[in-house]
């Protein structure tokens, strides 16, 4: 048994009121001394059964009247057909509103979301005009997705829904005012989460007829391969739900989407040029020409920046030369690079903006680049004279005026064993240069270092002990050495310089850019000896070739180990092994390799919209209150400043943590909307010395949602064949609303109540509970 207004079911306790009154009357009767007891007792003996029967009937009638009254007010919903005639079967209208950012795509003067809101308005008004019990649940897909993200299977629709109306008033304007103020989010959304939320409700509430209205723009992203969607719709249909798909968009529109903005995996150090790569995709059937991408760098000089809410960024904004993309073919993604230099260490950012088109949300992206003063490289040289380290030292510090962004320290192999893990963790990369042997403790430390995200560069050479390498460093694939070594091979020297270069670069990020050169830079490079790995070990997954040697043999290998990477050069730097150390390409290869290896412990440069914010500060005490500056709603408007308490680690007062994630239950709608905006989120703390500590987070939209290609109604009906689906356009709904009148049976319940009250009055009269008329003359 179910009721539309569940809280009113407490009213069933009123059933006890007649009993209580009866009991109270029993207790509060007055005493009367009486002489003519014989006649009274005689009357009682004669009428006792009838009087008792009438009293019980009267009590039952009053209790039943209470039951009916409460059932009527609470809108009793009956599961059975004949009882449903009394209670009136409720219709639950589920409106699922797509508020993904593709709904913001403008078509002429209108957006799909505006059309959807008009359709919702018309739908709700039509529902309000329908007789019978109508419940309304309005759920935006973004709220459903957020609720599912936060709570998984425990997600509750009451926390996610924008509107849960147990009945729809005749004038639903107030209900809709709140919805009218909403805007599409910057999320990529599919209806699956929302359907997942409502399916249990529909399955459980067999007493009510479910009508599901899905208002969407029918983009191919969500409806192109609707297998999951099909299964969920099938589940609804199996539970007798009525499905309405309301198309809120017009035609497919052309749109350029900024797919990514990512700095290269190289050295991120103050004063060192950094290449930032961005990709633009043309989501249309026409070629885009002369696309101008604006690039801005935002510098947050550590200790010199104050939080500012009146500007889009607290950092110093510098417009970089725009990048012009001559043409982008339909469906093509083009990649461009722009060079950025940040002079100081800090949490800097890069912003790339495309010109306005039909969908503005995906025209701008950000990337946060944590620039350090320098990266540290630990050179472990196996040569007594440290000749190998010399080459790297020269590369890393060629001149006092030139900055490579990396500093190095050189030690012996034995020093690694004695070096504490914390000290080792202070380096970004460890370069093992022709190290003959390593202590087992050192091997273990290096492995832990790499698994923790550090980079390891291994350069072989004449000191390399195959047996040691295979047994201690490779260890059947468990160690950090990437391959099992078979033998040392000697390559025949090149006859002349006209032959093909012995070394060839692959598409690997380290040397990939060199492949674009018209002439191989490795033409002068001679590999005289190299280590040959076994074929079996080369077949292992996770190995990437960076460069091949003579006859295509593996020469430079990259392999992942935990969070870090290990790059291995299977030749030496001394003359008897190769002349690479004297070759100009060595500088490039060394810098790019060390920059590459040092890039895996970095924080991500961006996160998806709605990701939780987290800032952890260690080593210093911070004030308890931190502030978070959220991206402004529109350019030029002030940013939202959010104050939050910093949580101090109970085990160490030097570790403070600030976490901020979307909480549908506890956050107000405006704050949730603010946390769903793309842009830079600045988190500020102040340490005990008064210094401001900053962590930036870039939240970017999912680029795929920018594909505005739509599926036609016919195509969708084919894909969802077998599922009864009523597809209508939002304009049609806005114009005519719904036409599905239903009969109301609630009056029957009221009639039953009236009849019962009449019976109760008759019983009361019969049981002489009505006061007698004043008597006239005495006998």
């Amino acid at each position: 048994m179910q009721f539309l207004y569940q809280p009113l079911t407490w009213g069933f306790l009123l059933v006890t009121v007649p009993i209580l009154i009866h009991l109270i009357n029993l207790l509060r009767h007055r005493k009367q001394k009486w002489a003519a007891m014989d006649f009274l007792l005689e009357s009682y003996r004669r009428n006792r059964r009838w009087v008792m029967l009438k009293q019980w009937l009267l009590l039952a009638a009053r209790m039943l009247a209470m039951l009916l009254l409460v059932a009527m007010l609470a809108k009793w919903i009956s599961s059975s057909r004949w009882l449903g005639m009394l209670g009136g079967q409720a219709t639950h209208h589920y409106l699922l509103l797509d508020d993904s950012y593709s709904m913001a795509a403008s078509d002429a003067d209108d957006t799909a979301y505006a059309s959807a809101l008009r359709a919702v308005n018309a739908l709700v008004r039509s529902i309000a005009a329908q007789p019978g019990q109508n419940q309304l649940t309005l759920l935006r897909l973004s709220r459903a997705t957020l609720a599912t993200r936060a709570a998984g299977d425990e997600a509750r629709i009451d926390a996610a829904a924008d509107l849960l109306a147990q009945s729809v008033p005749q004038d639903p304007g107030k209900l809709l005012d709140r919805l009218s103020a909403t805007e599409p989010t910057a999320l990529q959304l599919s209806p699956e989460d929302a359907l997942e939320l409502i399916i249990p409700l529909i399955v459980d509430n067999t007493a009510e007829q479910a009508h599901v209205y899905l208002l969407s723009d029918l983009r191919r992203n969500e409806f192109g391969e609707p297998e999951v969607l099909r299964n969920k719709l099938r589940a609804l249909v199996d539970d007798s739900a009525e499905l309405h798909l309301i198309d809120c968009s017009g035609e497919s529109a052309a749109n350029l989407s900024l797919v990514s903005v990512e700095p290269e995996q190289e050295v991120w150090a103050a004063g060192v040029p950094l290449m930032v790569r961005f990709q633009v995709r043309n989501h249309s059937s026409q070629m885009a020409r002369n696309v101008v991408a604006k690039v801005r760098s935002i510098s947050y000089a550590a200790g010199a920046t104050e939080p500012r809410t009146d500007s889009p960024y607290s950092g110093e904004v510098l417009d970089l030369p725009p990048v012009v993309i001559e043409q982008i073919e339909p469906g093509e993604t083009v990649t461009r690079q722009v060079q950025v230099i940040f002079g100081t260490a800090g949490q800097h950012a890069v912003e790339v903006t495309l010109p306005d088109d039909s969908l503005a949300t995906d025209n701008r992206r950000w990337s946060v680049i944590g620039i350090r003063a320098s990266q540290r490289v630990l050179l472990v040289d196996g040569e007594v004279d440290r000749s190998n380290a010399f080459f790297f030292q020269t590369v890393l510090a060629p001149d006092a005026r030139l900055r490579t962004g990396m500093t190095s320290e050189t030690v012996d192999a034995s020093a690694v064993r004695d070096m504490p893990a914390e000290t080792l963790a202070g380096f970004d990369t460890i370069a093992l240069l022709d190290v003959p042997r390593l202590d087992r403790q050192a091997v273990s430390k290096i492995e832990d270092f790499s698994r923790g995200g550090g980079g390891v560069l291994i350069v072989c050479g004449r000191n390399t002990n195959l047996q040691f390498v295979n047994q201690e460093l490779f260890r059947e694939g468990q160690g950090f050495f990437p391959v099992q070594l078979q033998q040392i091979v000697e390559n025949s020297p090149a006859v002349d310089d006209q032959g093909p270069p012995q070394v060839a670069a692959t598409e690997h990020p380290i040397l990939g850019p060199l492949r674009q050169l018209s002439v191989s830079p490795f033409s002068l490079l001679q590999i005289r000896q190299q280590l040959l790995p076994t074929a079996d070990s080369l077949d292992r997954t996770g190995l990437e070739l960076i460069a091949t040697g003579p006859l295509g043999s593996p020469l430079l290998i990259d392999r992942g180990l935990g969070d870090g990477r290990v790059v291995t050069l299977l030749t030496g730097l001394t003359n008897d092994w190769s002349n690479w150390a004297q070759d100009p390409t060595f500088v490039v290869v060394a810098l790019r390799t060390l920059g590459y290896l040092g890039s895996f412990r970095r924080a991500p440069t961006s996160a998806p919209i709605g990701s939780p914010l987290e800032m952890v500060v260690s080593g210093t005490t911070v004030l308890p209150e931190a502030e978070v500056l959220l991206p402004a709603k529109r350019e030029g408007s002030p940013r939202v400043r959010l104050l939050r308490q910093v949580a101090v680690d109970p085990n160490s007062s030097d570790i403070a943590r600030l976490e901020l994630s979307i909480d549908l239950a506890d956050m107000d709608r405006d704050l949730i909307d603010s946390l769903l905006r793309p842009g830079i989120y600045e988190t500020w703390m102040i340490n005990s010395q008064g210094e401001k500590l900053l962590q930036n987070s870039a939240h970017n939209v999912a680029a795929a949602e920018g594909n505005l290609d739509r599926v036609s109604h016919t195509e969708l009906e084919q894909k969802l064949a077998g599922i009864p689906l009523n597809i209508r356009t939002a304009d049609a709904i806005s114009g005519s609303g719904l036409h599905s009148p239903e009969a109301s049976h609630s009056m029957l319940l009221m009639a039953c109540l009236a009849g019962l009250l009449l019976i109760e009055q008759l019983l009361a009269y019969s049981a002489s509970y009505h006061a007698p008329r004043p008597t006239g003359a005495h006998a």
């Binding site: 009767h29 007055r30 009486w34 003519a36 049981a767 002489s768």
Partner: protein, 303 residues
């Protein structure tokens, strides 16, 4: 408040003084008075002849009959005597009921006082008996005007108490008052119906002229109770918690049957019966009662 004022309101006295209480049946007085006597005496009203027997006073021989019929008969005349009026006042617990200005006992006391005043004014004798299940007080028959004080005093000192048992009480009364007289019973007759009716019959069989003034409270006649009530018996341990309105109809029917039985019983024993509400004015009731008795007596005499 003195008993004379309590039981003899001035307005009642004023109206009662204009009334006259007459015995309807033959009563045995001790003075010559206004009431018929069972004794044949010197009165002028001839009653009958009877055969002369030796020892009869020859002065009463009807010589005219002897002359015409040659037989000796004695002329007998109705002798007028004074009235011996006994007031039998029920002082059982049930008479203590009354939600109005007075209880039934108080009402009965007023009636008794008025009748006493009336009787004494007529130079007749009046006495009173207060009883419940036995005689509680007794005031002998007197004609003295001061005797009223004794009756009033006995009424004032009495209070409703125990159960009613008229049968045993009236047997006692019959033995106490062997001479026939007017017995006025003031009672509600509640509590012991059979003994009450048997008691009345006992009085009547003893030759007394019996007048039953059946006094009931308005509540007992109308049963106006509405709220849930616990009724507790005045003369019994019975009690009943009920909705009075549900039982009212049955109660009134039972009461009516009781009254009907009382009426029938009184009629059968040729006793006068009058049902009196405590809301009725005592003097009005008394006036009505005596007027009706006067008419009845005149009709009886004419016959």
């Amino acid at each position: 408040m003195p008993a004379s004022k309590r039981f003899l309101p001035p307005e009642a006295v004023k109206r009662v003084q204009q009334l006259e209480l007459r015995a309807r049946h033959i009563v045995e007085g001790f003075l010559s008075g206004a009431h018929r006597s069972p004794y044949f005496g010197q009165s002028v009203e001839f009653v009958q002849h009877r055969q002369y027997v030796p020892g009869d006073d020859v002065r009463h021989v009807d010589w005219k009959v002897w002359a015409r019929q040659d037989r000796l008969v004695i002329k007998q005349y109705e002798e007028d005597t004074n009235l011996r009026c006994s007031l039998l006042i029920d002082s059982s617990a049930s008479m203590g009921y009354g939600r109005g200005p007075m209880t039934k006992f108080e009402y009965a006391s007023i009636l008794a006082a008025c009748i006493s005043l009336l009787v004494l004014k007529q130079q007749d004798a009046v006495g009173s008996v207060l009883f419940d299940n036995k005689i509680r007080s007794r005031v002998p028959l007197r004609t003295s005007q001061r005797h009223l004080t004794d009756i009033l005093s006995s009424l004032e000192n009495a209070a409703p108490g125990d159960k009613t048992n008229l049968d045993s009480v009236f047997r006692d009364v019959v033995q106490t008052f062997p001479k026939r007289g007017l017995m006025i019973l003031l009672s509600d007759l509640l509590g012991a119906e059979e003994s009450s009716l048997r008691g009345i019959d006992t009085l009547r069989r003893a030759g007394h002229d019996v007048m039953v003034l059946h006094i009931l409270d308005d509540d007992e006649l109308d049963f106006p109770f509405a709220d849930p009530t616990r009724f507790e018996g005045l003369e019994s341990d019975d009690h009943l918690t009920c909705n009075p309105r549900a039982l009212r109809e049955g109660y009134l029917e039972a009461l009516e049957r009781f009254l009907d039985r009382v009426r029938r019983s009184c009629a059968a024993s040729k006793s006068d019966y009058l049902l009196i509400r405590t809301s009725d004015a005592p003097d009005a009731i008394l006036s009505k009662l005596l007027s009706s008795r006067q008419n009845t007596r005149q009709r009886s005499v004419r016959r």
